[in-house]
Amino acid sequence: MSIEVKNLTKVYGDTVALDRVSTTFGGDQIYGLLGNNGAGKTTLLSIISDRQCPTGGAVFVDGEPVQNNDSALGRIFMVGEQNLFPDNMRVHKGFDAAQLFYPGFDRAYAEAAAQKFGLNTKKKIKSLSTGYASIFRLILGLSVSTPYVIFDEPVLGLDAQHRDMFYRMLMERYGTHPATFILSTHLIAEVAGLIGHTVIIRGGRIIKDAPTESLTAEAYSVSGPANKVDGYLVGKNVLSVNTLGGLKTASVQGQPESCLPEGLELSQLNLQDYFISLMEEESKNE
């Protein structure tokens, strides 16, 4: 049971937004889809949810092609960055509509969540602030109980407290109603602990697609006096280097030796630093 993306390509005139992208989302895992602005995250997700048509390739949900397929689309819920609800609809009517279209919609949970976030269900959806518009959509995503739920930048405009609430509610919901979640976000540090599997996309191509743990384990950070670090780095696959006065810090791809030379400090890269280092290395190669 999975969403399979096979050789997906999307071209707009001269721009190649997606270039033969292939990957799989499934197994009731929490996926992180990471990438810079314009890397292709939203394009990929909107094609998966059939909001956009690909130029080439296809998406399969539990073996069925997703295009124009109600049963496949009914299994996915996409929390996008945009409001697709009618202008005059109020929040509670939005919940009514969700209940009509999704038999598994947990209305009680949605109402409780709205109260927790302080979302006034009598307000018109169009009149909500950016933050509350996001909150409305993410509540839908948490309540809808479909096998696949996609969150594309779900915490846009949310203050720190609300972001924290969302992550906790997500983990709680994941515990009570396991499903495959895809989380696409810029806030890597905030979600690093949550995502079991990381997919990194750059320039329309997937450059990393692995369990989060293995990604952070495949690189490390070494720091110390600049000359010692330089000496150590010879022959190593260096991702990025940072110098502050005489102190140099470098991110290195690979596994560290069990015994580092004197004066050098070893530490594990967190996911965000790993991502940044990786992006720096990629842009060097271009």
Binding site: D50, Q52, C53, G74, A97
Partner: protein, 253 residues
Amino acid sequence: MNRSFKSAFRYQVTDLLKSTAIFFVVMLALCAAVIIDAFSVSTSDSGFKIIGSSSFTGMGTASAICLFIFGITAPRSNLRLCTQLGVSRRSAFLSLLLSALAVSAALASAGEVLMGSLQHISIIHVRINFADLYQMIYVGSTSVTLRFAQHLNSALLVTCLLLCCFTCGVFLTLLFWRLNKGWRIVAAISIPFLINGVPALLYRFGVDMKPLFVWLGSRVYHLDLFLLLLTLALAAIEWLLLRHAYIRSPSSI
């Protein structure tokens, strides 16, 4: 008909019916006004008497305009909602048309019942004629009351007309959605030209449209058929426009 389609249909029918009901109430008020307006007092040597006459034949036309406007406003809003709630664009489109058909039939029937019951009004010496399109075109006299079979024909004609007008509205709205800015200006300019210019051109080139109109006017079923064919043709073009569209929010046209 799968679950998504049913939900989409239910939602859209309910939504359209609400707006249609408001329209119908307005029409009721209009009919009441027509009735009241019919009465006037005339004074003469022999005293005063109440005279007057009035007629109202606009139910079908007004309904057609109403559905045309719905055709312009409903599609994008409904398509977006359906997309958010897991309905394929094909089901969203088909349920849009099907709900328009249902509402057209409902409004046509309600209008027919209204006109039919008002037709029999003759208060004192005041004659008020309520009639509609079918009666005007195919019966020829607005002062007779229709038989039941004629009422059915009338309702059927209005249903076809309403559905066709709705589809025209959908066509215009989808056209302007899918065309880029330059083509939109071209379309905006050329549509009035075409509407006015094509008949003139046809006349100039000696193409005689008269046989078509004679045929259409001979039997109501001919007009029904013409309207339905036009509806299908527009629907086919609309699907072609819609197939590869990127469904997103209004702020990003």
